[in-house]
Every structure is written in structure tokens, then in C-alpha cells.
Amino acid sequence: MTLAFLNLSWPVFANGLEFGGIYALMAVGIGLVFGVLRLVNFAYGQLIMAGGFALAYGSQWNFPNWASILFCFGVVLGLSLVMDRLVFRPLRTHSPAVMLVATFAVAFVLQNIAQLSFGTFGKSAGALAFLNSPWDLGGVEVKKIAVIAVVTAAVCLVALQLLLTRTSLGLHMRAASMDFRTAQLLGVRANRVIAGAVIISAVFAAIAAVMLSVEQLQVTSTFGLSDTIFVLAGVVLGGLNRPIPATLGGFSIGFATGILGGALPSSQSQYLPSILFAAVIVVLLVRPNGLFTRGGGAVQRV
């Protein structure tokens, strides 16, 4: 180990913010579905992978960028709704363990389908690579994608917060995530609330797919997989059930990933996951309810 990660520079810091933003979106996407379904969706990474392949096909078919992105959104949203309809809803009343195993199964099935269809090397999604070039922000050069990721994440999370606090769908979603049974007894429509969470979660997955494809131009069957694992750790770190702790948890782990990824010499980058997960374990030993939750409650819900 070296102390290279202390050697912070602006590009590395920007890298941290970029991954912080992307992971925060993914964390909230996972957290929203967990809130209403009590389901940790391990297949979230495969949604992102599907979005990545959609982008790859978009560039192969010479779609304009906006059309590729739209196609990516369509594929992720469609796949999410199919997953919800075929797997989550029928299993909704089963135990959390059953649902958890089911999402693992879905994840493996999708990943294997991708591997069989697109091979080990996958496909190239280079259309948005130009966003890796820098912008000059007052003498500091920052990658365009870093700025875009941070701004997009902030806008999305503020919009979500407004939806949750200002609309009746948002209120119903919050109530359902606290006490689904009572919410239903009050006339809250279960399917509408679940669909709302699944759709928002899918939109965030699609956004993450677009942004990750800038960093990782080659889309393979494991596209988004390690990111999802990091985010799951981050969500647990922050607190699973509420948007704000989930956001902060996702952001923290993303920021740490970005900083470490940028600062570690490439010969040592394989240590990145170990360092992160060691940190997660330490944090959870000290604060089992998560870093950003108050009081109890978070643990018993898992």
C-alpha cells in the first residue's frame, strides 16, 4: 500500500463527485423499491447492463445520441416492468428470503442471457465517449461527464424529493414504505404505488447506464455489476429505507470509489473493493443502523 490516495487532485476529486452522483441515484433506485416491496433487488445491475447494451446497439445502428439514450430508457423501463409483473408482484406476499433469492435468480438469468447473446467481450458503446474530454472551469480541467453526472443526480434527487413530499402519489409511496397494510386499508392502491417505485427506480437505472457507459465504453454481461455491489454496500451503509440516508450512503461509497479509483496507481487498483468493503464492515460494526439514520428502526426492517 502506498499513501497515494492522499494525493488528491482536482480531477480525482471530480471523479469522486461523479461516482458519488451516479451511485447516489442507483442507491435511491434500489431504496425506493425496497421501501414499498421490502425487496433488495439484486437484479438492479442487470437493468443497468441492459441499458448499456441498448446504448451499444444505438451506436452500432448509428442512432443519434438522443435516440440511443431514449432507447436505453425504453429498454430499462420495459425490462423493469416485466420483472415487476412476472417476478416481484406474484412473490410480493412471500417471505423476504424468497424474494431475495428470486432477484438473484433473475440477475443470473439476465447475465447469462447477455453472455450467451453478446459473448465475453460484449459490444462497444462509444457514442458518448466525447464526454470524457474536459471542460475548463476557472482554470481547473474537469471531465464533462463529471459535471453532467453531478448536475443530473442533483436535479433527479431534488425532483424525487418534490414528488415524494408534494404529490399524493409520493405521499402514498412514503406511507406504503412505512406500513403497507395500513396504507392499503386507507385505500392506497398497492399496484400504483409499486409501479411508481419501479418506474422511478428504472429511470434512475437508465440514467446510471448512460453515465457509466461514458466511463466504460465496452459493455459486457458484467456491465454495472460491480457498481451495483458497491451501491448495495453503500445503501446498507447509509440506511436502506429512506431516500436521504440511501442517497448519502450511495454518494459516500461512490465518492470513495471515485477518489480511490482515481488515486490508486493502476497496479494496485485491484485492492479497491477490499478497501471499500473493509471500511463498510468497520462502519457497520460501529453504527449497525447505518451512518445516516437516527435511532432504531432501520435494522428490524431488513
Partner: protein, 238 residues
């Protein structure tokens, strides 16, 4: 012109959880503008009856009809949207939401479009809720939370109101507030089915009361029977 069917009719209703019979062949009626009491010892099947009406307990026999239409097999959220509101046992308010947000949740089941004055009626009935409308509901006292739970149910403008032990754990003064509010709710023409532990008070207050024991109807009492503790005790112990 034929008379309209009663607002709520249970006909030979049976509820079973696994091998346990919670309610056996229960028949009763609640009409508009009346309060019907359902009393009995713990485990008599009172809550199960309310849950069965709400589509939240397994009905294995008999029928539940609202205005003549069967509710058996209808999902809870739809029962609520048909105009039956439940004030659940233990109040079940959302402690992390504000008082007003809890009331807004009550609007989920409202059948007419919501106007600006949605909660005036609730605030008139329970002025304390207006005062605390921006507070987190979890910070309210038990009595205030009970008032909120009733107000939330009323926000849906239901035709039938089901209450599951609304006086449980409340100070006597607050129990008075709750019963007084129920009296005004009766005057507004709702059909009220009141499950209670306070047997004597309920018998005196309700238009008629049914005593349930071991899932079966044991006795029907009128308000003037409230003093007849012997019959009540006998029915409880039977």
C-alpha cells in the same frame, strides 16, 4: 318503493385462520345513522370481524354486503374506496408523517374530488388536530393520535365507519371526547360499527350491541340493558 338495504349486513359470516375458527356464523346489520356495538372478551373475534369486512381476513363462509353488494373477495383498498373506513386497533397512524399528511392519506379512498376545505369537518370535530396539523403525528399523545385516526377515516367521507377499540389505553377524559365525537358522527348519518372492550359504556351508548364470545353471537342488547350486568357477565363467560 322498496326500502334501501341496510348500509352493512353480515350474514352467517365465518372467518378462519388456518385451523382456528375466529368467527362462526355471525349475522348482524348496521344502518345509516346508527351505532352498533360489538363487544366481548379478548379473542372473541371482534377484530377478525372488522378485518373480514375490510377484505383483510380470510372469509370461509357467509357474506358481507354493503348496500346490498357483496364485499367478499374484494381487496382492502377497494373496500375502502367503496366507502367503508376502518379506524384500526392501535390507531396505526403514520408517526413520521405530519398530522395533515396523515389526513391527506385518508383522502386516498374518497370518492368525490377533493376541494380546498377537505379537513374542515375533521378539524371542527377535533380542534386539537388543527392546532397540531404541522407536527409529526408520532409526537402526539395517545388520545390525540386516536382523534387523528378517526379524523383520517372520516376524511374519506365514508358511508360506513368501523372502529376497533378506539378507547383502548386512553385517559377517561379522552374517552369522553372520543364517544362525544362518535355521537356527532352518528348524527351525520354514518353507519358505525363500534368494537369495544368497555362493555357497559358501549351498550348504553350504541343503538344496540352484540356480545360475541368464541367467535359466536351470544346476546343482543339494547341501551336499557346496560345496567343488567348479570346478563352481560353471563354472556362473556359462556
Amino acid at each position: 318503493m322498496s326500502a334501501a338495504p341496510p348500509a352493512l349486513v353480515l350474514e352467517e359470516l365465518s372467518v378462519r385462520y388456518g385451523a382456528v375458527d375466529a368467527v362462526r356464523g355471525l349475522s348482524l346489520e348496521v344502518d345509516r345513522g346508527e351505532i352498533v356495538g360489538l363487544i366481548g372478551p379478548n379473542g372473541a373475534g371482534k377484530s377478525s370481524t372488522l378485518h373480514a369486512i375490510m377484505g383483510a381476513a380470510p372469509v370461509v363462509g357467509g357474506d358481507v354486503r354493503q348496500d346490498g353488494r357483496s364485499l367478499v373477495g374484494v381487496r382492502s383498498e377497494q373496500v375502502a374506496r367503496n366507502g367503508i373506513a376502518l379506524v384500526p386497533e392501535g390507531r396505526r397512524i403514520f408517526g413520521e408523517l405530519t398530522v395533515e399528511e396523515n389526513l391527506r392519506l385518508g383522502l386516498a379512498a374518497r370518492r368525490t374530488r377533493v376541494s380546498g376545505v377537505a379537513f374542515d369537518h375533521a378539524y371542527e370535530l377535533f380542534p386539537i388536530l388543527h392546532e397540531f396539523r404541522r407536527r409529526q403525528a408520532g409526537a402526539l399523545s395517545g388520545g390525540q393520535q386516536q382523534q387523528l385516526a378517526i379524523a383520517r377515516a372520516l376524511a374519506a367521507e365514508p358511508d360506513v365507519l368501523l372502529l376497533d377499540e378506539p378507547s383502548l389505553g386512553l385517559a377517561p377524559k379522552i374517552v369522553d371526547v372520543v364517544f362525544e365525537a362518535l355521537g356527532r358522527i352518528r348524527e351525520s348519518g354514518l353507519a358505525v360499527l363500534l368494537v369495544e372492550q368497555r362493555a357497559q359504556r358501549t351498550v348504553a351508548f350504541a343503538d344496540r350491541s352484540y356480545v360475541l364470545a368464541n367467535g359466536e353471537l351470544r346476546l343482543t342488547l339494547a341501551p336499557q340493558d346496560a345496567g343488567d350486568t348479570d346478563r352481560l357477565v353471563a354472556a362473556y363467560l359462556s
